[in-house]
Symmetry: C2
Subunit: 332 residues, 2 copies
């Protein structure tokens, strides 16, 4: 059955109607195939928002920071949307463990929109779903769209990188295990934050971070190196913040804005857009593959699974056969 | 150019020759396509090892626990291999931050084999690569193969589940952010560990865990529910351990062995094998798709990326076209 898009709903989303946005997002989450035409139309309308990925290890205080940042963005006259795919975020799963809603003054402000994504069970769909959600919010006219993810796990880090500006949050006083993981995500940062700078050991964290960054340029990935070569400000800003004392938040917003301006001024924004396009193409292809797998499970998939189970075929050989036999987007 | 498999290397790996194993793994990591025939042959020879996934949030002490468990497995006369894809593991990236090698008494024991996997940059390849590595170690005759992953992030959790027995490690005294993430992985456990039980607050963690498990059965995923329905011991064991005091480790090994025995006795092992086969097929298909994407980038991929970048195509439409046009395994 053909999907009948709702021009009326689309128009209301494009006009920034919060209830229409929420309804479209729910429809997309329940059945992305049904909402496909609308989602694709939203993509065509998107492209103006400043997409900011904010990531950090558990305990880095990034959720509170995001709420504080949202307040500053509002004071600058911009509308902001937050997509939380951090299971520890007060905006998503974390809230079940107790009262941790930190939105405070932002509650009820129509210029702030918050949406949480489930990270578990979104097999092959996390990145695709998140970025489609960002499209809708972008098309709806939010000047800034923040993607908040926990900085552990491949998919989560990938999503945070699919942004114009990626902020990595560090904090003083975390355990060794967490520090080691943190080291792995430092290289994706356009802007660094050391949160909880009201703590006495925060200054050491800033110094340590500077040292790691000075050493770490050898570990930078190719894309960032290319960008770094042309951006005048090669070493990312390090901003010390305290959500508790409301310090450094304006500086953080300024650094985020400065990064976007530098991308525009140097023309590097086009390289960033190309990199994001690539991530999205791969994410969408993975999503389609999983869809086709599920839809054709009784027909083409089951016999392959059985031969794989008894080791008559290797995963590689079975997968090759699968990809050649699956029909993709069969309902298109 | 056709790959010439080395029957001599294969024979030595199958005989459990540690240096041959290390060489094959390095070859596979450097160029999986070159080692393909050998890896597929290893898969055909594998299937005897007890594959154990051990996962837990950062700071849960799972790396130390794994080392202690390895010592107990050795004392039981079995050989054990450990694949660490935890960036905080002393076996992988963590070591760069200081001396954290905790293998202690196991160093130099040929019955213990440790291999670390890079988690970053393994785009689309983490699960596939890890499980192929497990095949090699399984074929080489290790009776137990442990996959150690950090329990945050979709891919990492998926890998830990691609095991016969999944152990989830909790610890007392972690922060709220981490506890919230932990809640999301409890449901994948066949065996629970509360580590650091020498701490005074450990007993509360055990009680909390029991409470969460009692509540949490509503959140179990379908596969586990099906398994739980037929396994007599429906509620997973909770084992309190102290790596420092060497307590509970024998009990943990007993619980792991008991779980495997129950799978065999009830015949549920076949359901588990089918689930693992499915995960592996999907992981291999994703890997092949990424390979094809990279190989055909100049030809078929680049024009799609360009149209996507200028929003003339949506990610969904571009991905559909991509999947229909890519040639998979072109060098086969």
């Amino acid at each position: 059955m053909a999907y009948i898009p709702s021009p009326e709903l689309e128009a209301r989303v494009l006009a920034g109607d919060t209830r229409a946005i929420a309804r479209l997002l729910t429809r997309a989450e329940n059945d992305a195939a049904e909402a496909r035409v609308t989602l694709d139309s939203m993509f065509a309308h998107a492209g103006r928002a400043h997409v900011v990925g904010i990531t950090g290890v558990p305990g880095s205080g990034k959720s509170t920071l995001v709420a504080k940042l949202a307040a500053k963005v509002r004071k600058s006259g911009r509308r902001i949307a937050i997509v939380a795919i951090d299971p520890s975020s007060p905006f998503s799963g974390g809230a079940i463990l107790g009262d941790r809603i930190r939105m405070g003054e932002l509650a009820g402000d129509p210029g702030v929109f918050v949406r949480s994504m489930a990270t578990r069970g979104a097999l092959g769909g996390l990145a695709k779903g998140t970025l489609e959600l960002v499209d809708v919010l972008d098309a709806a006219g939010f000047e800034m769209v923040v993607i908040e993810t926990v900085g552990v796990g491949q998919d989560e880090v990938e999503v945070a990188r699919a942004a114009h500006t990626t902020v990595v949050v560090s904090a003083p006083g975390l355990g060794d295990d967490i520090q080691a993981i943190k080291a792995g995500i430092l290289e994706i940062a356009d802007v660094h934050v050391v949160s909880k700078c009201d703590r006495p050991d925060a200054n050491r964290t800033v110094v340590d971070l500077k040292t790691m960054l000075a050493l770490g340029y050898t570990h930078m990935d190719t894309e960032k190196l290319k960008l770094a070569a042309s951006i005048e400000r090669q070493v990312p800003d390090i901003i010390a913040t305290s959500s508790m004392k409301d310090q450094g938040i304006a500086e953080l917003l300024a650094a985020i804005d400065r990064h976007r301006e530098a991308l525009e001024r140097t023309g590097d924004i086009e390289m960033r857009r190309a990199a994001i396009a690539e991530r999205r193409l791969l994410a969408a292809a993975e999503g389609l593959m999983h869809d086709a797998f599920e839809r054709q499970r009784p027909g083409k998939v089951a016999p392959l699974l059985e031969r794989l189970r008894v080791r008559a075929l290797s995963p590689h050989t079975a997968a090759l056969q699968l990809l050649r036999e699956l029909k993709f987007g069969g309902d298109a």
